[in-house]
Every structure is written in C-alpha cells, then in structure tokens.
Symmetry: C2
Subunit: 272 residues, 2 copies
C-alpha cells in the first residue's frame, strides 16, 4: 500500500488542467442530460457534447457511482438520478429572491441613482425586506418591514397582477371598500381590480404617481421563480418631480430588465 510515486514536476500542471477538465466534462454530461429532458441514450449524450461514446460512458459510470445518474435497465437509457434531484432541492433553497436581487438593487442604485427595494408578500400585505438608496444629499427613504397597499402602491399592483391569490384579492377588496372617492376615481368604474390587473400585466410592470404617497412615484415588476410563482417584487421609486415611472421610461425599462434577470437566476423560464 505504498503511495503512488509523485509525478515529475513538469507533468503536474498538465495533470492539474486535466483534472479540472474532467470536472467540466462531468458537468457537460449532466447538463446534456438535463437539456435532453433528463433522459437519453449514450450515443445521444455523446453526440450532444461532441465526445466519444467510450469516453462519455466512463464518466457516466462515475456519475452513477455517485447517484447523480441512473440507468434504465429496460431501455439502457441514462437519466438524472435521485442525488441530482436532492442537489436541485438544495440549490432551490439557495435561490432566494432577496439574495438574488442584491446585484440588481446595487445596479439600480448606482446606474440610475434611485431608491429601490425588494418586497415579499407578508401576512399583512407586500412588505419591504431589503432596500438600497443612492448616495445623494436628499433621497426618498423606505423602511424595512413597511407594509404597502395592494391597490395604491406600484409594489402592491405588481403583486396583484402576478398573484391570482385569495389573500391578495381579499386585501384588494378591503382597500377598495375603504377607498376615498378620489382614489376610487383612479380605477375602472365597473371592474376596478380586474382592469388594473390586466393593465399591469400588459405593461410588464406597475407604475404609480402620487397614488400611495403624495409626491412619490414608483415602478415595480414581479420576480418569478422556477415554479412560475411570483416570489417577490422589485420596485424603484423617487420624488415625482424627477422620476419617470412609465413602463418605457429609463427606470421602467431598467426595473423590467432587472426583474427578468432575477427571475432567470431563480430558475424561471417561460414554460415554468
């Protein structure tokens, strides 16, 4: 049981590269199986990544050893196994919308110099959980833990449009009953909630000017996860004088783009 002789110094860097390459080939095989729907024959996997079936087979044996891949004894096809499923579950626990939104919040703050935040649906309504504000002398402040209205805030409207859920609808109905005549006049006379929902869906974001707080405008877009469920809302806001909340304004475009980028990080795809 002697240790293997050390490789000559001149070989070590190549060996190092090879080992890294091997981990990358293993990754490529797993991803090939994933993009082939989770199940495929050896020849299909090999042709998908442009490697020889003999080489791919050796890797598959290793991956099967670790439970990442299984082989169907009846069809001989390989498929992603239980350990891959369990790794995916662990990855999902890491795919936290608040954490994933961090880079977007910083980009919005730095590139557009706007206050921006992430809100999630709490038991009282949309609740601010993380924010960034630009280093300007005067900025609009938000407070972590603040609950926003569904009908009058951009954040709430983004949630209303994305989440067809009893809780959200109940809050919206209660807000509608408590609305002042001026607030009520902002919404459709016949179908106030449904028309609002459709408008936000059509625009891809919700925009408000002075409806929640006088002098404050905001634009908000929902963040979806791998199940297609909205998990949070990304919102940018500012003083109405110097802030264009329209969907196609500079901020509106950036919020929609960043919301899409975060949703992608959460595993969202159009068919989720």
């Amino acid at each position: 049981m002697n240790p293997p002789p050390a490789a000559p110094a001149s070989i070590r860097p190549r060996e190092r590269r090879q080992r890294v390459q091997a981990a990358e080939t293993g990754t490529a095989i797993l991803k090939a199986l994933g993009s082939l729907g989770g199940r495929a024959s050896l020849t299909l996997i090999a042709s998908h990544i442009g490697e020889s079936p003999a080489k791919v087979h050796r890797y598959l044996v290793s991956l099967m050893e670790g439970g990442l891949v299984n082989q169907d004894t009846s069809t001989q096809q390989y498929f992603l196994g239980l350990e891959t499923l369990l790794l995916g579950l662990a990855a999902m626990r890491q795919a936290d919308p608040i954490r994933m939104a961090e880079a977007s919040l910083i980009r919005l703050r730095e590139e557009l110099e706007v206050t921006c935040f992430v809100a999630v649906m709490g038991n009282k309504g949309p609740t601010i959980v993380r924010f960034e504000e630009p280093g300007l002398p005067v900025t609009v402040n938000v407070r972590v833990g603040s609950v926003l209205p569904i009908l009058w805030s951009a954040t709430g409207r983004a949630l209303l449009a994305a989440l067809n859920d009893r809780e959200v609808s109940a809050i919206a109905q209660a807000e509608l009953r408590a609305a002042t005549p001026a607030q009520r006049a902002l919404l459709d006379a016949d179908e106030p909630i449904e028309v609002l929902r459709q408008a936000v869906r059509y625009a891809g974001c919700a925009s408000v000017r002075d409806t929640n707080l006088p002098g404050i405008s905001a634009v908000a877009a929902p963040l979806y996860d791998y199940t297609g469920r909205p998990r949070a809302v990304l919102t940018a806001l500012g003083a109405s004088g110097g802030f264009d909340p329209s969907p196609d304004g500079v901020v509106g475009q950036a919020v929609r783009r960043e919301a899409q980028a975060i949703s992608q990080l959460l595993g969202y795809t159009a068919d989720s």
Copy 2:
C-alpha cells in the same frame, strides 16, 4: 495547433482511472455542498470530504465554470447554482412514481406472488395505471384505467388519508351519501371520514376485506414525493381466502416497506 503527443501506452489505464476519480471528486464536492445546506466555505467543504482546500478549490473553479456552483462575493462562501437547480428540475421530471414503482411491483409479484398495482388520482378518482400479476394458474385481475372508490377500496382509503384535498373529500362525501346501510355500518357513526383517515394514518396503510369487491382483500400505502405530496398509491390484492390484508401481515409489511422505498426514490424525506 498540433494535437498533444499521445501518452505512452503504460500510462493510459492510470489516466483513465484518474479521470473517473475526478468526476467522482466533483460529485463528492457537490454532494458535500448539498448536505451542508447548499452553501459552505471552502474549508468546510474540504474538511467534509477529507480533501485539501487547494484541490477542492480547483474543482470548485471548474464547477463554477459550468454554473453548478456560485460564489457569494460578500461572504466568499460557495453555493449550489442555477444550473444545479435546473438539473434538479430535470431530475424531478424523471422521478415519476409509476416508473419508480416498477421494481417494487416486480418484487411484490415475485416474492409474495400477489397481484399489485400503482394508482394515481385521476379526475374521477384513484385510477390504476400500472400493474403486475403473478404467474399463477388463477390470479385476481385488475385493469389499467379502472377507477376505484375512495371509501371502499384500500387504494382510495390510502389516498384519503394522505391527501387532504377538496376533490378527494368531495368524492368521499358523495360515496357516503350513496352508501348502502351495510356499507355505512362499516364506518364510524359520527365522523365516518375523519375516523377512517386517522386509522389509515396510524397503521401506515389501508386494509380492506370484501368492502369493495366481495371475496377480494387489499392493502395499500401512499407514495410521497420530494415535496411531501402523495403522488400515487401502491396496492397489493388477492382473494380474501388466501390473503391477509392486515398492516402487520406479510403483505402489509411488504407494501409499507416498498412504498417507503419508492417514496425515497422520489426524494421524499421526513422533513419534505
């Protein structure tokens, strides 16, 4: 751009082994990250799998290259990335209860010589989707596509206990209203459905003797997936004369054991 010189023949087998080992080390690192909750420092990962941090770091660089792992820039911790999440989703699509139950059906058929099947909740009720029957001269037959009652079949009762769902409850209520006095007498006088549900949960399986079909006994247990949801039911049945459907009988024990094994293959854990 010459190809690299071929390695001497005597080195090739070792190289082959190394490459396989490398894929296994990559797998071990991913699984370490998974079992550490999806996120950990380099030193923790390295100590978890008993490798040097320098070696583990090289692998992590490769795994990051492929998007399976990401590094948190603020904490320097590594975490399972989006590609792992997407692989997990593909693995979940493969974790099909019917396919996963196949080996169990064959074991039940061969070891106990009983007819056995998997049923899923269809739009009319529990529906047989896959079965195996022993090669005996006379066996009890089932038909793929058959819908079973919720209250009177073992399969239905296993679903009733596992799935606290409006659809199942509605079918159970309708069956209760249509029950004959003899059927009604089999259930608790005050809380017929709830007492049945609790009894099945307590036993870990549902057992019936002659309640659905005269002369037929059956025992059934639910199959849960990684979300903790019941996805299907595993059922064994036979002629009441030669078939003991009690939870602690030979068949009852085997059905419960196989149902647990299938649930594990579907990613079910006690905390799902």
